[in-house]
C-alpha cells in the first residue's frame, strides 16, 4: 500500500517536474536513474558486482551517436541500435565474467571495461578525446520535434517508465525469483537443478542492454557521446548511486541517482567544484560503513518497524 502510494506520488512529481525545474537536468537524472536501475538488476538481484557497466553505457552512447549522426538513422532506431550493441557487448563480457565469482567477477568486468575504453580511444568513429559532438535529436516518429526540451523530456520519461516497469516485472517474475535464489545460495540453486550460469548470463545481458539504453538516451539528450561515459569513474558512480539509494530495492537506484545528480549539479557551480570526486568518495565510505541499506532500504526498515 505504502509502496503503491509512493509510486503514484513519484509519477505525479515526474509529470509536473519540468514546469518547475530545468528539463535538461531532469533528463540527466532520468538517464542515470535508468542506468542505476539496470545496474541494480545484476548487483541487487543477481548478487554480482559489475565494475564495468560504464562500457555498456558509453559504448551504446557512441553507437547511437554514430547511427544518428553518420548513418542518418531516425532517433528511435538509433536508440535501439545503441541498446542492442550494449546487449551484444554484455553477452561477450558476461560469458567471460560469469566464469568467476565474487571479487574476481568485479575485477574481470573492470578489466574488460578498461579494454573497451582503450578501444574507444583508438577507434576512428568515436572522435577520440573530442567525442561525438552535435548529434541531432531528430523527431519522434517523424512528427514531434525533439529539439524542444519539453517534448524530449516526456519522450525520455516514457522510455524510463517503460524500462523501469520491465525491470520491476523481471524482478517479480519467476526468472527474478530464481535469480534471487542464486544470489542468496548458489550451491542450493545448482542442486535444485537450475542452470545457474544461464540465469546469470541472461540477467547480465538484460542489465547491459538497459544500461546501454540509458547511455543511448543520454547521447540524444546532450547530443554528445564522450570518453567520460565509458571511463571507470562512471562505473564507480553507478555503483555509488545504487548503494546510496538501496541495493536490491526496486526504486532505490533511481533515488540514489537523483541525489548524486542533484549533488553534482549543486557542487558544479560552487567553490567545491574541484572537490566533486572527493565528496563522492566520502559518501562512498560513509555508505559502506554505516548506511549499507541505502535510503530506500532504511525507509523500508523504518516503515516495517513502525507499523
Amino acid at each position: 500500500m505504502t509502496t503503491k502510494l509512493g509510486y503514484a506520488v513519484a509519477l505525479v512529481l515526474l509529470l509536473i517536474a519540468p514546469f518547475f525545474l530545468y528539463p535538461v537536468l531532469l533528463m540527466k537524472f532520468l538517464c542515470f536513474a535508468l542506468f542505476a536501475c539496470a545496474f541494480n538488476l545484476i548487483l541487487g538481484f543477481g548478487g554480482l558486482l559489475s565494475f564495468g557497466h560504464a562500457a555498456f553505457f558509453g559504448g551504446a552512447a557512441y553507437i547511437t551517436g554514430h547511427a544518428i549522426k553518420v548513418w542518418g538513422l531516425p532517433t528511435e532506431l538509433g536508440l535501439l541500435a545503441g541498446a542492442a550493441a550494449a546487449g551484444i557487448m554484455g553477452l561477450a563480457a558476461g560469458m567471460l565474467a560469469i566464469r568467476r565469482q565474487g571479487i574476481y567477477f568485479a575485477m574481470i568486468t573492470l578489466a574488460l571495461a578498461q579494454m573497451a575504453y582503450f578501444l574507444f580511444i583508438s577507434a576512428p568513429f568515436t572522435g577520440g578525446e573530442n567525442g561525438l559532438q552535435g548529434v541531432p535529436r531528430g523527431t519522434l516518429l517523424g512528427m514531434v520535434d525533439l529539439q524542444d526540451n519539453m517534448a524530449m523530456y516526456y519522450f525520455t520519461l516514457a522510455i524510463f517508465l517503460a524500462a523501469f516497469w520491465l525491470i520491476a516485472r523481471t524482478v517479480h517474475s519467476p526468472f527474478g525469483q530464481v535469480l534471487r535464489a542464486i544470489r542468496d545460495n548458489e550451491p542450493r540453486a545448482v542442486s535444485l537443478g537450475y542452470d545457474v550460469d544461464r540465469y546469470k548470463l541472461q540477467a547480465f545481458v538484460l542489465s547491459a542492454t538497459l544500461a546501454g539504453l540509458a547511455g543511448a538516451l543520454k547521447t540524444v539528450v546532450f547530443q554528445l557521446a564522450s570518453l567520460t561515459d565509458a571511463h571507470w569513474h562512471m562505473s564507480g558512480e553507478v555503483v555509488l548511486m545504487t548503494l546510496l539509494g538501496g541495493v536490491g530495492t526496486i526504486a532505490g537506484p533511481a533515488v540514489g541517482a537523483g541525489i548524486i545528480v542533484a549533488l553534482q549539479n549543486l557542487l558544479a557551480s560552487g567553490p567545491l567544484s574541484a572537490w566533486v570526486p572527493v565528496v563522492l568518495g566520502v559518501i562512498f565510505v560513509i555508505c559502506v560503513l554505516s548506511f549499507r541499506r541505502g535510503v530506500i532500504g532504511e525507509l523500508r526498515a523504518f516503515i516495517q518497524k513502525s507499523f
Binding site: 558486482l49 567471460l96 565474487g102 571479487i103 575485477m107 583508438s122 572527493v278 568518495g281 562512498f284 555508505c287
Partner: protein, 296 residues
C-alpha cells in the same frame, strides 16, 4: 646475426623488452601486495593504486621538504605509507568484518577516490619531477642494447622485495601465522594468536609493498596523482590471470605480462594497451581459475 632480429633493430626489441620487464616488476610487486592483503582480509584493495601513488609522493615530499635522498625514501616511504594503511585498516576496514567481501572493494574504491581527489586538488593532474639517484645515473652498453643503471636497479629491487616477502611467508614464524590466518583465522585465534593485529600488519605490509613500488617508479614516471589509478586496473587483470593463491604465481605472472606487453609494443603498438586484458580473456576461457589458482 642479431642486427636485424625479425625485421626490428635489436635496440628497439630489447629496449621494449626491458621496459616490459620494468612494468612487469611493478605488476609483480603490486599484485603480490594485493595477494597478501587478500589472504588475510579477503578484500581486494582498490586503494592499492592510490597508495602506490602515495609512496611516490612520500618520496617526493621527503626530498622536497626534508632534503632526504632516494635511499632514505626507499625505506621511509613504505614505512610511512604502510603506517597510514594500518590506520585505515584499524579504523575503517576492520568495521566491515562479517559483511559481504564486496563492501571491502567498495570501501577501498571510495578511499582511492578521496586520496586521488585530494592530491589532484593539491598538486594538479600534471606530475612533479623526481631525480634519478646520483649513484644510478648513466648506464652500460651491452652491445645489443643500452641498459640504464636505474632501470636495471628497479628490476633487481623489485625481485628482492618479492624474495623478502617469500622468505617472510615461507621461512619465519610470523609467516607461518600469516599462512595459518589465510587458511583459518578462527582456529588460529583459538590458539591464542592475536589475529586482528596480524591482519593489521598484513594490510600494512601489502600497502608498504605498493609504496615501495611507488618510490621505485618515481624517477621513471613523474610523480603524479593519477599514476596509480590506471595501473591498478591492469594489475587486477594480472591477478585474475595468475590467481592470488601463491607468491611465485604473482611474481611470474607479473613479469610475464610485462614482457608480453613490451613485445606487443614492438610488433603491434596499437594493441599494447589492451593485450593484458586480452590475455585475461583467453585465460578465463581456457583456465577459469587462473594459471596458478585453485578452483574455489
Amino acid at each position: 646475426m642479431l642486427t636485424d632480429l625479425l625485421g626490428f633493430p635489436p635496440q628497439v626489441l630489447f629496449g621494449q623488452l626491458l621496459l616490459g620487464l620494468i612494468n612487469g616488476a611493478f605488476y609483480a610487486v603490486l599484485s603480490l601486495g594485493l595477494a597478501v592483503i587478500f589472504g588475510l582480509l579477503n578484500i581486494v584493495n582498490f586503494a592499492h593504486g592510490a597508495l602506490y601513488m602515495l609512496g611516490a609522493f612520500a618520496a617526493w615530499a621527503l626530498a622536497h621538504f626534508l632534503g632526504l635522498n632516494y635511499w632514505v625514501a626507499l625505506f621511509a616511504a613504505p614505512v610511512l605509507v604502510g603506517g597510514f594503511g594500518m590506520l585505515l585498516e584499524r579504523f575503517l576496514l576492520r568495521r566491515l568484518a562479517g559483511v559481504d567481501h564486496l563492501y571491502g572493494l567498495l570501501l577501498t574504491f571510495g578511499l582511492a577516490l578521496v586520496i586521488e581527489g585530494v592530491f589532484i586538488k593539491l598538486f594538479g593532474a600534471s606530475g612533479q619531477p623526481y631525480p634519478t639517484p646520483k649513484a644510478l645515473t648513466g648506464g652500460i652498453n651491452l652491445g645489443f642494447m643500452f641498459l640504464p643503471w636505474y632501470r636495471g636497479w628497479v628490476v633487481v629491487a623489485s625481485l628482492i622485495a618479492c624474495g623478502v616477502t617469500w622468505y617472510i611467508f615461507e621461512m619465519t614464524k610470523i609467516g607461518a601465522y600469516l599462512r595459518a590466518g589465510t587458511e583459518n583465522p578462527k582456529l588460529l585465534q583459538a590458539f591464542g594468536v592475536n589475529v586482528p593485529l596480524l591482519t593489521t600488519l598484513a594490510y600494512g605490509y601489502g600497502v608498504g609493498l605498493a609504496a615501495f613500488a611507488g618510490v621505485l617508479a618515481a624517477p621513471i614516471t613523474q610523480v603524479s596523482p593519477l599514476m596509480g589509478s590506471n595501473l591498478i586496473i591492469v594489475v587486477f587483470a594480472v591477478v585474475v590471470i595468475g590467481g592470488m593463491g601463491s607468491i611465485m604465481g604473482a611474481v611470474v605472472t607479473g613479469l610475464a605480462m610485462g614482457l608480453i606487453e613490451g613485445l606487443t609494443k614492438v610488433f603491434w603498438p596499437e594493441a599494447s594497451a589492451t593485450v593484458i586484458f586480452f590475455v585475461m580473456a583467453v585465460v578465463l576461457v581456457l583456465r577459469p581459475a587462473g594459471l596458478f589458482g585453485r578452483t574455489a
